[in-house]
Symmetry: C3
Subunit: 199 residues, 3 copies
């Protein structure tokens, strides 16, 4: 699973950059920017670990995560204009990150015996809660509650993952299918402006 780990830590860095950029826009100081970057990158996995009772939370056992976040913050401070210009590239990494976070979170919940329906929720929480917290601390109604379909894409991806698991025991196959599914659907959703109805 080395490739998953690699995407996991790169995804963490991309999430940190997304948090740092939001915080910049709010005119926070460098501590605020760092704090929002941390929260955005680690919030999802942290909430998942707290809810399923897996503590100390995961990032406490591997300093690589903090290191990647620190790199993300430094990159944002030094190269913000460039990063803003690269937003399409970042969006691709962000989407791969979301897909991998969903799979890792879901699998972790299954591993400790959580019911698959709840595990699917935990996969989604791992992927989206960081962004929700980012918006709450920046004093906005979370973006995800208003416009984005990506939480639903994560849930659909989780259903794919669990369903495929009933038919094959090839973990690689299941993971690749799920990540591709989430990646493709989210790209399509953004490209064609799919929205959930609000009433």
């Amino acid at each position: 699973m080395n490739i998953l780990y690699l995407i996991d830590i790169v995804g963490t860095m991309v999430f940190a950059i997304s948090g740092a950029i939001t915080a910049f826009d709010k005119k926070l100081d460098i501590f605020g920017v760092s704090a929002v970057a941390f929260i955005t990158a680690l919030g999802g996995g942290t909430l998942r670990d707290l809810l399923i009772g897996s503590t100390p939370v995961a990032w406490m056992n591997d300093l690589t995560y903090l290191t990647m976040i620190a790199i993300g913050i430094i990159l944002t401070v030094l190269f913000r204009p460039t990063i803003l210009r690269l937003r399409h590239t970042l969006f691709l990494f962000d989407t791969i990150g979301i897909a991998v976070f969903t799979v890792l979170g879901l699998q972790k919940a299954l591993d400790i015996g959580i019911h698959p329906v709840i595990a699917i929720m935990m996969g989604m929480v791992s992927a989206v809660f960081g962004g929700v917290t980012r918006d709450i601390v920046c004093n906005e109604i979370p973006l995800i509650f208003r416009e984005e379909v990506y939480a639903l894409v994560c849930i659909a991806g989780g259903v794919v993952y669990v369903s495929f698991g009933l038919f094959t025991s090839s973990t690689e196959y299941i993971i690749i299918s799920t990540v591709s599914f989430i990646f493709t659907v989210r790209i399509l959703a953004v490209k064609y402006h799919w929205k959930l109805p609000n009433f």
Copy 2:
């Protein structure tokens, strides 16, 4: 305790409806409405379980809760005008729900050896924290911090529960007394506009 369980799951549904209706008013999409419904219904019990260290949190072990929330969301989507007209009935269920959540939360804390004073707080947290979180994610100062006396009613109910426990070992009697107490006082508080002083 079948009747308590029944009220617990119906109360969960009523809380979900209350969250969904608030989210509708904020023009959230269907994912946002669902998320706020979940948070409102499960937030109190979740915080209690995290604080007392009872993880995985309770609703992960019984899919009935998620099912009742899903039903609450569907009912809100389909029958919102009717539900708004039934708000007095809903208020009664909400009040019974609060009373039962208080008793169940308090008893759970006592069961794992928490000091009664803290257990009373945990009963109150179980009953009110869902609504607090609903207001925070919807970007408002929590209603409960500004106008409602019901947190205090839950604490008073907790005191009744623990005090009666010193004099009798009849659990049914204690539970019925406490639930009736909370129910009655909250109805009176709302009917006669009891308010806490703000200075």
Copy 3:
């Protein structure tokens, strides 16, 4: 360590007063004032304990904390004008409180085998998260994200603590050095308006 415990509980009371005063300014009722006081005083230690998996959280095992908070609330209700006039004295207690919370949080994390880098973060979280939560529930962008350097001072203090620990095994010496360091730097930071750059 009796002196540390003493400062810990006095610091808890001072934090409660700071929360109560903020809540007053928001025109919350007495329950809201109490809730914000509790959250401000206990939020940091609670988040630390949840993250490192030490539950039930610390204040559940020692009613002294709740008692000190209750005293803080009562003092605020009765003597608010006096307290506002004593704000310089309060600020000193607040600063000592922050220093001691940092040391106690850091040491607790080290005690259960957390990596020193993460333990330094946990020390900082113990000291500052209460104030962050206070600002979130009062619907403001956390002050600490915008203006204060004190989170950084706590991190620097944590580095002092861990570094000195490499050279001496005299716990008293390390603690006194760290607390003095945090106290002095924060006083200087406020006196000379040190600010972090925001970009």
